[in-house]
Symmetry: C2
Subunit: 332 residues, 2 copies
């Protein structure tokens, strides 16, 4: 009796879902043009999910990490988190009269972003600390959500969370449909991403890794809160990415996706493990629909990474050639 | 046609799995005696999983965090990780002739643990750094696995991974069966736990939070490795637990489980959120089957936490009264 029930179960399952599964298998990456890049993704997923094969990877070990800026969403003309910080400097300026005479704030408030950022990493760090610290984690989350709900990209005029790459959303979904756990490992702020990554990418907060400032437990009106301190905790870039991935995940990814030299160590770390491995670089080649930049760019520089990808045969996506569309359709 | 297929599907599903589900629902916590503690766990899970109820919590938000030492496994006569470190001092002694004249190592090598630990936290830190650093993360994982495969507890003579609490294993499984994601948040070392938590608790490495030392990416023979440095990265105890939970998970748990004052801030942080919340303390009251200790103990002191649990009506498990068994059956 039991065996008959299971057989019926299998039959009904096949009837109900068989056609759906076939349709999906037909093209899991519809926004990708047929080509080496697309084929390499599908070939890797097929290899590691084939039961009984010597290359089969158990679902628990199917970890994939994605850079965010320039890999999952755009990063021009400036990292979006930096645009957020600049907007916030303007918003907070009335409470900081001293900023009128203090760089990098003075230049920023006069509208001269170039001059403000001439101070390099130190100027950026000052701007970040002035705009990201001195409040609770719950307050910061609210500030990020409010900004994303109203801010528009300077050239496309679209909300920033719509400037994500449709072909990469399909890769995320395709990997998850094949038992992968998808993580972000970004140089961007961990608490700047978490309020929206689940809605936009399907990646929950506990699978977001990023740079962070220190926080401290305090008690306000009898309630514990976490206060954000103006002190760097961890910079999740370059050599920092494997360190943070190990700290958060405790396993080595089998697939990693990036777009710049800042992701090179993550891709090296990922591919140095045993068994089948996959590394993919998104190359920005589409000046018309997105931006074209690589070896000379100050944002998202892709130079050493490009050489190594070619030497090692990693997948390099040519946005202009490989992607049918860049962004998802505009929301009404 | 389609609707008929779905109805058949539902029917077969019910036939195949209905009886199993009923059996499980009958008693999800068979090693617990009936009493307030057991009832409070079941009542909470029932409340937050009842669809349509105002107290319903979406599966994504069903986060539960567990302390490890004294909550999921035993911690007497010394934290097991400290026993590991002591064994390792003996193993490494031939490579460190200078230890013969240097505390805390000299006392340890003479077999006088009390004298070695008289140096307090500083002595412990020195022992930990000497035994946990100076190798790659992969090498350390191997060392931990080898120790666990052979080491026996000094009084029970059982492997340490069998000195986990059977009633708590049932709580972990019960929560997961109800859509919870279970995490460890322990003062113990994150890399000391990850090699075995999945097998023993069903908790994967990416859901383990703990104390850590710093690591650094290096390249050995052309291969990237993470080297463990003799420098504390984060102490995941007391005020550190909410900080680390926020850093790793990015959501506030709705349920937290501990056994000592070191867990108090985690329980406060958990219960300070909105909506239904659950906090549970395991109290060590069973001198016969386990150990009995609380307010005066140097290991797992439970003093302020006990007062606060009583004042706030948190669940306090009385091991002697509430648990039918302590450990799982011995493996043959």
């Amino acid at each position: 009796m039991k065996r008959r029930v299971i057989a019926m179960f299998a039959l009904v399952f096949a009837l109900a879902f068989g056609s759906l599964a076939t349709a999906q298998a037909a093209d899991p990456l519809p926004s990708w043009n047929d080509g080496e890049a697309k084929q390499s993704i599908i070939a890797f997923v097929t290899r590691v999910t084939k039961e009984g094969s010597s290359e089969f990877v158990s679902p628990a070990e199917r970890i994939a990490t994605f850079d965010n800026d320039g890999t999952l969403w755009a990063e021009q003309p400036l990292y979006f988190q930096l645009l957020f910080a600049l907007d916030r400097v303007k918003r907070l300026a009335p409470q900081h009269p001293e900023w009128k005479d203090k760089e990098p704030f003075a230049s920023l408030l006069e509208g001269d972003v170039q001059a403000a950022l001439a101070g390099g990493d130190r100027a950026i760090l000052e701007i970040v600390m002035a705009t990201h610290a001195g409040m609770t984690t719950a307050e910061f989350e609210q500030v990020v959500k409010e900004w994303l709900a109203t801010a528009k990209h300077p050239t496309t005029k679209r909300p920033f969370t719509e400037m994500v790459y449709q072909p990469m959303l399909e890769v995320l979904a395709y990997l998850r449909a094949n038992g992968f756990k998808t993580f972000i490992a970004s140089g961007g702020g961990i608490e700047f991403m978490r309020p929206w990554t689940e809605r936009v990418y399907g990646i929950p907060p506990e699978q977001v890794i990023g740079s962070s400032i220190k926080t401290k437990l305090e008690v306000n009106d009898g309630k514990p809160v976490l206060v954000r301190l103006p002190e760097l905790n961890f910079l999740d870039d370059k050599e920092g990415k494997p360190v943070a991935i190990n700290q958060h995940i405790g396993r080595r990814p089998i697939a990693a996706f990036g777009n710049s030299d800042g992701d090179l160590q993550m891709l090296q770390w990922t591919t140095a493990g045993e068994g089948p491995r996959f590394a993919l670089y998104v190359r920005h080649t589409d000046a018309e629909r997105e931006w074209a930049y690589d070896r000379e760019s100050s944002i998202g520089r892709f130079d050493k990474g490009l050489d190594e990808a070619r030497a090692k045969g990693w997948t390099v996506v040519d946005m202009k050639q490989d992607w049918k569309v860049i962004y998802p359709p505009e929301k009404k």
